[in-house]
Every structure is written in C-alpha cells, then in structure tokens.
Symmetry: C2
Subunit: 589 residues, 2 copies
C-alpha cells in the first residue's frame, strides 16, 4: 500500500518536475497536535508516531524520527521501501544534510509551503543554494483520495466572565504593540493566539478547543479567516460588535497579496507560503504570546475554582482505585477511563485537555506512554500507577500528575518518590526577586534527583493555557539555555506553570508528581519586588510512598499545610467513605 502511494506520488512529482518532496508532520498553523487531515507523513510512510519528517526522491524514501520512536518506526516501515533515519545517532545525516547530498544546483525541492514555517524554509534555502523550491502544490493531497475532511465543529464565544477581558480590549493592546513596531497590520496564524484575542473557542483539535483559522489585524479592522459554516449567527454578531469581519478560511492568501503596508509577523509561526506573500514586514514574536501567558484576575479566580473541580475528580478517582484494586485487577485503560468519567460528572468539564498517560510500574518509565485498550495491562494491589491527565473547563485547563501507591513498594522506590515530591515542593515554596527565569529556579526541583545521579531528561514544567493548549509558551522551568525556545522568559505575576519532576528507571518504575502554580507578587522593598507561587492544584500526594525522615522540616511544613488546604477544600465534595479516607490521606507527617 505504501509502495503504491509512493509510486503515485513520484508520478505526480515527475509531472511537476520535482526531484525531492519534503513531508513534515505539521498543519498550516505550527500546531503541536495536528488533526487527521494533516497526517500526510503518516499516510505516505505508514509510521504513526507523533514526530517525524519524510523525504521522497525518485529512487529513495526516508523517514527521520527521534529516539522515542526508533522501535515503533522500524516495525512500521518494514516492507515499505522507506528507510529509517535515526535522528541524533552518530553517522546519521540530518534531513538537511540528506537533501544537500541528493539535490544539485538547478534541481527542484517540492513541499506544501503551508506546512513549513517561514524561518525553517529560509534556513533550507540557505543550505541548498541554487536549488529551486516549488511550494504551491500539496502533492500528497493530489493522490490521497479518501483523505479525511477538515474538522467542522461549531465555534462558541468565551464570555467575559470566563476570559476576564473583552476582545476589544485585547485588540487595543495588540494594536499598541503594532504601533511600537511601526506595523500597520499583524498576521496571526497560531490557533490559540487567535482564540485568545477573539474570546472564541472551537473543537478543531483533539484536546485543545481551538478553531482552524487565520487572523489579519489592522489598526481599525480585524479579519478572521475561518470556515463560515462553523460560525453561528450569534457568534458572528458578537464579533461584528468588536469590528471583526469573517472571511473564508483560504482567502487570506489572496487578501495578503493586496496589502502593501508593513505587516508584523513571527517567522517561526507563519507558514512559508503565506509569508512569501508579505511585501513589507517587521518580524517579531507574536505579542499575543506574552499577553495570553499572563492570566488576568478573572482567569486566576476561575482557575482556582477549576482546580477544585478537577481535584475533586482526581481525588475521588484515587480513592476508587486504591480501594477497588484491593478487590480485583484493573487495567491501565479502565483506570484512565474511570478518571475521565469522574471528570465528566462535572457539568463545567468539556473533556480531557490531552490524552491521559496512565502507566503501571515499568510502563511509567516511558514518559509518553499511552494505555492501550486492545493490549490490556492488568494492575494488582502492589506497585504504583502513574496518571498524568487534565480537563478542559469553562474555568480553564488543568494538568495534573499523581503517582498512586497500589500496595507495597520497596524503600528505593520510596526514596525516589520522596525526592520527586521534595523537588516539586522546592519550586512551589521558592521566593525570589522579580527578574528570575525558569532556568534560575529549575535546580530547586531537580536537585534532589541529581543528588543521586538521576536526571529526568526533560523540562521541569511548562506554561498552561486557559481553556486552550496544555503546553503554552513562553514560561517554563528548564535548566539548559535553548536559544530557539523562548521559555527562559522572566517569570511574571499571573503566569501559570506546571512543576513536574520525576524519576524514570527503565524496565522498573516511573514516578512523576505534578502541580500547577500561578506566579504572584509578594513584598516589595529596597531590594526589589519579591515573587512566589500560589499552588492551584488541589489533590492529595500519596503519603504512603513518602519517607518523612528524608524531608526537611520546611518541606514537611509545606506538605502539611498543602494537605490541610486540600482536606478543607475537598471535604464538602466527598461522600462519607471518601471523607474518612481523605482525612488520613492528608494527615500531618
């Protein structure tokens, strides 16, 4: 099947005089998750992993993916004639190096210019001097006969009682930034930023309530390019009041050709096809990113409620699991479904904010593990279940991880567990001067595991959207300086970030504990503005897996204070048995 698709693609490539065709895993908007319509790379290679790039030439096809997917890709590429390129391994060429090897001067590289961002396309151009770029054809689209359609769910308004700021006010702030940059227009293509400005939400991504669309903001105008069928009259009317005009999704490409004024855009985010139509530009990060990251008072007040509702669901789930597992074996999948059910009991909840990671013992050592319905993994009343999940609510998005003791574990696991909890507490209780970045604070979470020669090999935490993307820039906790990520921004009051250290021991066990915190201002004096964090997540941390004597007095105090707050806050929502258990689960240590 893959072979036939490759033959059909090559036939098209020949007609279009393309020597190589480049197929990334992306939509037109640089989204983290893409919907089925955009899975060209999967369609052409058979590889179903979430990350990968494919290149097809007349006599070769290659797939590049990272270490998480080597084994899966190897299996899925069998008998497809597609060669696996293991990224990061010694001697394996990068995509660019491969293209430099096969493309001579005068030859042609094709790709759909809408699924490659402007910055990367320009880097490719520099790396391939004399090579022609053909970017107007979606060649996979030409041969993909049973391609799924674009999503067409309805758009709805996020009222100001949830968003805390009108679309008009947000547009004013954006226009101020446009003035500062001497731009008359601003083209915005990132879906969460568009939804944030317009105070709209939709159903166009698996777990993020975004709407496939583009936006063009002028000084007095705003045009929203979106499939008009998705926009009910009430939404259209509401937006019209803020001067927002609605035009068909694809019309932005024609409209952009007519604009001669200076356009502000982010080349890391705007696709190459669109950016190529901009005549006068000023490039900068989208100003919406920082505005959206700093939650306003209404959003923060709503988030507090949101996390109580979410905490009720997760806490009831923990009670259920800890007790049910004493009676029978439960699969990872059933447990994850049960947690979704607990969340669904709340009418404010739209569903999950990302695919639940529910992993038992050794499976939890795989950071991006998904429980499988078809290959059930049975859990017993021993060991630990790690569950990383979240919900979307009118009151915001949540992301929480708890590792739950199902029975006895050894002292080594308890030591690891204790260090992870200490790490989470380390950032939670930090006080620091304004100006600190995530990279100044990361070691407070990572130190306890670094002390025993272990690292969790990923960031300690990420920003979280408000009824939007679960991974939101620019805030985060990391220790490495990665110039292309801008998550080493200064921590601003109102930024919501996860703290999720872990220990992952291959073939043995995995532990992660994750709370969300919102950055807040503390005292101001001659030394500057002191800052700290308020914890949003409300859910007990499993005391049975903790070695209290390995914690400092101030760590224990933080945990005891937190558990007292958890108990007081959740008690009204618990039934009698749950309440009795919760009292023990939140006891002072």
């Amino acid at each position: 099947m893959i072979k036939e698709r490759l033959a059909a693609l090559r036939k098209q490539m020949k007609e279009l005089s393309m020597d190589a065709y480049y197929i990334p895993t992306a939509d037109f908007h640089e989204s983290e998750y893409v919907c089925e319509y955009f899975t060209c790379r999967k369609y052409m290679s058979g590889f179903t992993g979430s990350a990968g790039v494919m290149v097809v030439t007349m006599d070769h096809a290659g797939l590049w993916t990272d270490g998480r997917y080597f084994i899966q890709a190897e299996n899925q590429l069998k008998d497809t004639t597609v060669t696996l390129y293991r990224m990061g391994q010694e001697g394996v060429p990068t995509v660019t190096e491969f293209l430099q090897g096969v493309l001579q001067e005068g030859m042609c590289l094709g790709f759909d210019g809408r699924v490659v961002n402007s910055l990367y396309a320009n880097q490719l151009k520099e790396a391939l001097p004399g090579v022609n770029f053909a970017i107007t054809d979606d060649v996979v689209g030409k041969i993909w006969t049973d391609r799924p359609g674009l999503p067409d769910g309805e758009v709805y308004i996020l009222e100001e009682k949830w968003s805390g700021e009108s679309c008009a006010s947000k547009l004013n702030r954006v226009r101020e930034e446009m003035k500062n940059r001497q731009a008359e227009y601003h083209v915005l293509t990132t879906l969460d930023d568009i939804c944030w400005v317009l105070n709209v939400r939709g159903t166009d991504s698996v777990a993020s309530p975004v709407v496939l669309s583009y936006a063009l903001i002028g000084m007095d105008t705003m045009t929203w390019y979106v499939n008009e069928k998705k926009v009910p009259a009430s939404v259209r009317e509401a937006l019209a009041k803020d001067g927002v005009e609605i035009r068909p999704y694809n019309d932005i490409y024609e409209d952009m050709k007519t604009i001669t004024e200076t356009v502000l855009y982010d080349p890391k985010k705007v696709n190459y096809a669109l950016s190529a139509l901009i005549k006068n530009s000023v490039c900068a990060d989208n100003p919406e990113v920082l505005m959206k990251a700093i939650k306003n008072e209404t959003e923060i007040a709503n988030l507090r409620q949101c996390h109580i509702m979410d905490g009720v669901a997760v806490t009831k789930f923990i009670y259920w699991l800890k007790h049910e597992i004493q009676k029978r074996e439960i699969t990872e999948w059933e447990a994850a479904e049960k947690l979704s059910w607990f969340r669904a009991q709340n009418e404010n909840c739209f569903g999950g904010s990302f695919g639940t990671i529910g992993a038992y013992n050794a499976n939890a050592a795989m950071m991006h593990y998904s429980p499988s319905k078809d290959k059930p993994v049975y859990m017993k009343n021993s060991g630990m279940y790690l569950v990383d999940s979240g919900g979307q609510y009118w009151q915001g998005s949540t992301d929480i991880t708890r590792t739950i003791l199902l029975g006895d574990i050894c002292d080594l696991w308890k030591d690891h567990y204790t260090r992870v909890v200490r790490g989470m507490i380390g950032i939670s209780k930090a006080q620091f001067l304004y100006g600190c970045r995530g990279l100044n604070l990361d070691i407070l979470a990572r130190g306890p595991v670094w002390d025993i020669d272990i690292d969790y090999q990923c960031g300690t935490g990420h920003g979280v959207g408000y009824l939007l993307n679960i991974h939101e820039a620019p805030n985060g906790f990391r220790w490495r300086i990665v110039p292309e990520r801008n998550d080493s921004c200064v921590m601003e009051a109102g930024m919501v970030t996860t703290i999720e250290p872990g220990v992952y021991i291959e073939n043995s066990h995995g532990i992660r504990v994750e709370n969300e915190v919102v950055c807040e201002k503390r005292g101001k004096n001659e030394y500057g503005q002191f800052m700290g964090f308020e914890t949003l997540t409300v859910c007990p941390i499993d005391l049975d897996a903790i070695l209290p004597e390995e914690m400092t007095k101030s760590e224990r105090k933080w945990l005891n204070d937190y558990h007292a707050y958890v108990y007081k806050t959740l008690l009204p929502f618990m039934n009698e048995e749950e309440a009795t258990w919760l009292q023990t689960a939140t006891r002072s240590i």
Copy 2:
C-alpha cells in the same frame, strides 16, 4: 588646585582644537585596579573613589560615578567647579547623552586612545556621528608635572612545579585557537593573561602580581613588550628558550603598524589606540581566559596546600581575636594588620591578594568598607567582626571571608548568620549535570535570604586567579543574565570560584561567609556527566552565631563533615591553647 588644573587642561585642549576631553578610570590594559600613574581622573577632579568618568569642555566639567560614591564625591567635588552626575538616578544624563548634547557635527572629542577599549570607543563613535575623535594625546599627562612613574619592580618566573604547564605548552594551545580562528597573530594586552601564558609574575599592581606589558603572539614568534629593566637576565634567558623576544613596552604601537596578517584580538580588552593600528582582524574573546580559568592538576594540588597555609593564618587570627577582645578593645585596623601578620609568618606568602575588608557591626553593612588607621573604630566583646581578605602564595591566591562573633548577638543576627551559612553550604554540596552555569546554581545560595525578603545585591561568587587577579573571568555565581559579562559560562572541572552570600543591613550589621571551591567531575552515566565542588578553604565557621535547629539535616551534616576536616587538617599547626579551642570551634552540631 583643581580649578588651576582645569584651566591648564583647557589651554592644552584649545591648542589641540578639542571641544571635550574624556577621562575614564583606566590603564592601557583594562585592569580592574590601576596604579598611581593612571589616576588622571583623580588628578583632574579631586575625587578619589575607585570608579568614575570625567568629561571636560571649555565651560563645564562633569564627573559621573555610581551610588556607592555619591556622598564621597559630593564632598570631594566641593569648590572644584566639577559637577557631579549621579549615575542611574532619574533625569541624570549618561556620559554618552551628555556628549551628544555638547558636541555638534564637526566638533572634536579628545581622549587618550590607550585608556579606552576598542568596543567602547566604537560605540561612542556610533553615538556621535560627524564628531571628530582625537586619540593620540594624553592631555592630562602634558599638564601633570609631578606625575608618579610607572612601577618598575622586578619580574620573576613561576616555575612549572607551581604553574603545572610550560609556557611552550600554553603557547601551543593558544596557537591552536589562533588557527581555528584563521589568525596569524594574536595581540594580548590583559596583564593576567600575559603572565599566565609566560609563567611570569611581577609587582606592578597593588595586590596582583602582574607585569605592565603587551604581548604579540605569532605562529612561531612571541614578542613581549615590557620595560626591559624589570626583566633580570635569568628571566630573559628562560623566556628565550620558549622563543619569547623582549622589546620595549611602547614599541608594540610601531610594530603593529607593520603587520598585515590577520590579528586575533578582543575589542572589549584591547585599547582603541592599539586596535586602530590593526589592519586585518578577527575579533573574539581572548582564548587564554578560559584556559587560565580551568586550573590544571598541579595548580589544584598546590591550591589545596595554599588554602591550608592560609587557613592556618586565618584560624590563628580568629583564636587571637576572640580571646584578645575579652581583655581589651581592638581597632578594626589593628585586627586587619594582625591578620596580615599571621599570613606573613608563612614564607610562601607574598602578601595580601587585595585590600582587607575588616568591619565591625554596622560598618560590615558596607560591602566595600576599608578599615581606617587614622579614624580608628574600636571593637568590644560584643557584636561581630567581618573580615574579607586573602593572600598571594607560590601555591596560589586565596580569598576568604569569616564573620566572627566577639560576644553576644541577638537572635535576629543569628538567624541572618545561619541563612548565610546555609546559602554557602547550598552551592558547596550541589551536584549537577555538566552544562550548568552559575545562573542555574545561584539560588541555592541566595534562597535562604530571599526567603526573608533580603537580597545581597551582588554576585554570589567570582573566579579566582592562581597567584594572579583575585577576580578572574569567566566563571561566577549570579542569577541575572548580564550579556556584557560572560560569567554565565558553563562550569568546567578545574574552575575555582568563591561562594560568598551575605546579609547587609544598613546601620546595623553585615554578615558574609566565603569559601572557595573547585569544580570537579563526579559520576558519568546515561544521564550525562555529573559535577560537584570540592571546598578548598580550610577555616572554621563560627558555630556560636548559628542556630542549628534552623538548618536541615543535610546542611548540618555538610557543616560537621567540613569542620571535622578543618580540625584534622589544621591541628598539626596549632599550639596547645589553639588546639583546645579549635576542637570546640569545629564540634559537631
């Protein structure tokens, strides 16, 4: 007197057609401390502070200095006609803004091109388009009749048993870097870097054993521009074996004119007059900086000995002070002198590595305080004495601070003291992955004082030279990202850095505790290379000022282990009374 000097300067400026004359506080080598010959700004303004810039026009004279010196400068500038510009205060123009205000197109700014670095001079040029620069005249030198001469102390060789690497080997490594940069020559003007390459030392700075000189390194040649009278025949012969030719100090300016090949230089370090003579250049940080910062095994072994000798002196001093103060009042100055005397008892010690800061109670709140002989401050058997000092030895340079309890102090002071000690321990016992920078670790030292809304408003630590400058780039511990400082480099094994958190409460008290540590490799595994610190400083930390219950178990363990090591190491050098006291001073808590 100042008025007459200004009149004389203006007369010269008129003859040279200069409309403004710029006088910084600098020598020809961007040294941190300048010798008397280079104190033109002090001579012209009467202001004796260590930092300041002066600008003289035909009808105005201004002095710019920072907050540390506002009061002092105000007093010293009285009746001089020189206006004080308080840097950083609202509404106060910067030097550049001032120059932009007074210099029109076609007018002339004069300065001695040898005392302004290339980078800054070029920034000035950009800020002052159309203004002519006259850089060949040292106009202050023309009117300064009784100017002190340049220092002329003898140069000596640092043998390989001290340096651990021959000049030939160092030159090879530097030449490798020159090749990497495609440079045929490398001009080096920073005094400590020159001394490091040549394995020579001298007496041309107050406390740093450097030699006023320039170096021009070719692929097969090295020319050292230095006052030949200072170089004994034996040194000349030793250097000749490594192919080092000696030429008069100032000849580099003439010689540079003849070089047409590419010259590697650091525009932040090389002065503008010299850089202006370079025809083809490649600009980069001096490669010697990183090489010099990473101490070799011989240097580290010597440093261990060095810190034992230094620890003996400081510990005997502490014993003396704590006991003598029970009998009589002692001045800050006498105490500082006594400490110097204890150091001088060791034949390996050349003297202090910087001016001792010895401050009693409220005086210790001034971070850069110097005890005065003329205005004695008497200490009693109560309160605390902060002493920050160091020595220069064949075995290296030391920098140590102890705050010594002289009698009773209140619990608030003890709380502050305990937090400072906890901060020092925080970095000392950190384990981290290779790749961490000072800015990842700083909060481990600063956290305990940030927790109570206090900050020490300076870096936590700096690199230290080997029988060289006490402040050495590029390593350090700070939390702010300051792009123009490159002290956020990756911590490399062999780097020696101070850890010196503090608490400074104006008009009340000041506490600082400072150890030196050397970065070391620990275990390496699938997560990477783990790193940590070995403490070099060997001297008790005053337990009488500590609240043990405010420390964590692991902090107390670190301190007890450290004190056990201090006791074992210093015991052989103590007399009977000292030994008895030391046992108590290093007891387990």
